[in-house]
Assembly symmetry: C2
Homo-oligomer: 366 residues x 2
């Protein structure tokens, strides 16, 4: 029905050669092509609704303007999802397109995902994970400019650049927030230590106590899991059947779902939030934290910003990369020419405290 117009069609219609079309449409027309021809070419292109075939362009230019993203649980989780959205927006604004391969948490698919992407000649690669975690980077990622988002290379050095949230600081600032409200008996409900996010947030929590000159009561730190039910049962352990005078006045949760469980438990026990106990989440999950009753105070994970930052850094490297221009010099790869700066930096991006209605002043007498 509609074979797309090619540069040749445009040339024919305008009565010029393909080269002229190419020149004009790429802005290199002035001084090379007669103005009258330029006009005709532009009209022809418009008439034919011409746009260059990106595949041919990719082959010719030896760059696809595609960034491959491998994510461990991307499309189905709002976490990875937001990182990817942030990354994609930046990519798009640079005329790149992203293609994401989801491994659905199956590490054995890492290599083949990267391989598939590489086969498609992606110009760069990003690895993004749902939760912060060390990553055994698929070795073939090194073949193009690459970056890690929300994860970091598990080898000691020589790692890929990584963009990760400052979890320690996030944990500390969460604790400081409730401390500022007068709380002293503060519990911390974390997920398992499969991800370093939990220990790091706990570390921040400890830091806050240390900075305040207060001791940490180890009984107050519970690693329970990441879901609503874990929060519920954790809170029950902390609150059910214990004297009002000896129960924690604030409960910090390592994510918003845990916080839902905690609030559920409080209500079940006839306790009000935040009057009887303050509850804090983490993540500022979309449509959750803000919509809770009461709306959750939380530590927002800067997911989009992380994605954007990672993509910005990656694109900078891609665009500086040698394959941008055609490299003459035969096949032999001289190790002399250094193009990529040895950036093995970890970029920390801060979390953002969001105060809503689930945290309040410490109850009188505590």
């Amino acid at each position: 029905m509609n074979r797309k117009a090619t540069a040749l069609d445009v040339a024919k219609l305008a009565g010029v050669s393909r080269s002229a079309v190419s020149l004009v449409l790429n802005g290199r027309g002035d001084g090379n092509v007669a103005l009258e021809s330029q006009q005709r070419i532009r009209e022809a292109a418009a008439a034919l609704n011409y746009s260059p075939n990106k595949i041919a362009l990719s082959l010719r230019n030896q760059q696809s303007r595609v960034i491959g993203i491998v994510s461990d649980l991307g499309v189905t989780s709002p976490f990875d999802g937001n990182i990817i959205a942030g990354a994609d927006a930046v990519a798009r604004s640079h005329g790149f397109v992203t293609v994401v391969m989801d491994t659905e948490l199956d590490e054995s698919r890492d290599e083949s995902a990267v391989e598939t992407l590489l086969d498609r000649q992606v110009d760069g690669l990003m690895y993004v994970t749902v939760g912060l975690r060390p990553l055994h980077v698929p070795p073939n990622m090194a073949r193009v400019p690459s970056i890690l988002a929300n994860c970091f290379d598990d080898r000691p050095e020589a790692g890929l650049p990584a963009v990760i949230p400052d979890e320690v600081r996030g944990g500390r600032e969460a604790a400081e927030h409730v401390m500022a409200l007068g709380h002293r008996d503060i519990a911390f409900l974390a997920g398992d230590s499969l991800t370093p996010a939990a220990p790091r947030r706990i570390e921040g929590y400890r830091d806050a106590f240390k900075a305040a000159g207060l001791p940490v009561n180890e009984d107050r730190v519970l690693q329970v899991g990441w879901d609503i039910d874990a929060g519920f049962h954790g809170a029950m352990k902390l609150l059910d059947g214990v004297e009002p005078s000896t129960r924690p006045t604030a409960i910090l949760c390592a994510n918003d779902r845990l916080a839902i469980g905690v609030v559920l438990a409080c209500y079940r026990l006839g306790l009000n939030v935040p009057q009887d106990v303050s509850v804090m989440g983490y993540d500022d999950e979309f449509r959750v934290a803000k919509a809770m009753v009461p709306a959750l105070s939380t530590m927002a994970l800067p997911l989009r910003e992380m994605g954007a930052a990672a993509m910005t850094a990656l694109l900078a490297e891609v665009e500086a990369s040698p394959s941008g221009k055609n490299d003459d010099g035969g096949a032999g790869a001289g190790p002399g020419a250094s193009a990529e700066p040895a950036t093995s930096a970890e970029t920390m991006v801060p979390c953002r405290l969001v105060v809503r209605d689930s945290t309040g002043p410490v109850p009188a007498g505590r």
Copy 2:
């Protein structure tokens, strides 16, 4: 550092011509190439870690083996996300790759998303939406085989094929589930009517009453919104301060988040779920429904299946499409050759009842 090996490199190493390499590696070697050469070629390919350049292949074969997905809120929501995941799995198993462009609910980006994808020479297009809704299909989608997932063409006929959930039946079966438990006074908490999902589910709810020969009490149907707080306030309206004997014994929610709000409200009022009131969700949202306390009975939206079904149908059309083989016959497009069957069918896929702990027998005396 490492220019990828090309077929020519393999040919050189094996001491044969490019053509031979191509033949052998595509399984057309037997009967064309000496067995000994075949052996050498395979070894050379392995040694060089050769894999064909997909870009060149795309150009040559006039098909990219890329399916473009435009989603209205894809990567950040678990809803679209699961549809996409299901679709992607099928695509991958056919040697296709998907690239998704997210419009983030900005309809004005539809056209340009499709345009971008088309420029990249995608072989097919899928449009997926977070919630069921009529869609003003971007006209240029018609240029390649296309399909709709979770949405449908808003023009009367001649529409694209669509795969949508059977919401009416879902609503009906949800109601039937609690009716089977003895409930008669059943409320329905729905979101707004911006999506036809709400009215359709309500329609199913009415159908169930009609089938049971029971009247629908219109006061029991509340359109409140889609979030936790909406569920909370809706439930409060239904339950707070009303006689135990006149309050609904079951509350059906149009999604799981609403159900969270309802349970929160119940607990707040000292009511138990499901002993005092049964609560049902919809969607079976991952890490939510199952992890709630109590675990939510819900109507699972078959997101992955929808994505898979849509992609399967799409791929069938793509692979039957003329561009699969190179069409000789010059440039003129004869309108005679019909390839695509006039499928403007809407495929309905059923939802799945998941019974957990939030629904139970009607309280004694009701």
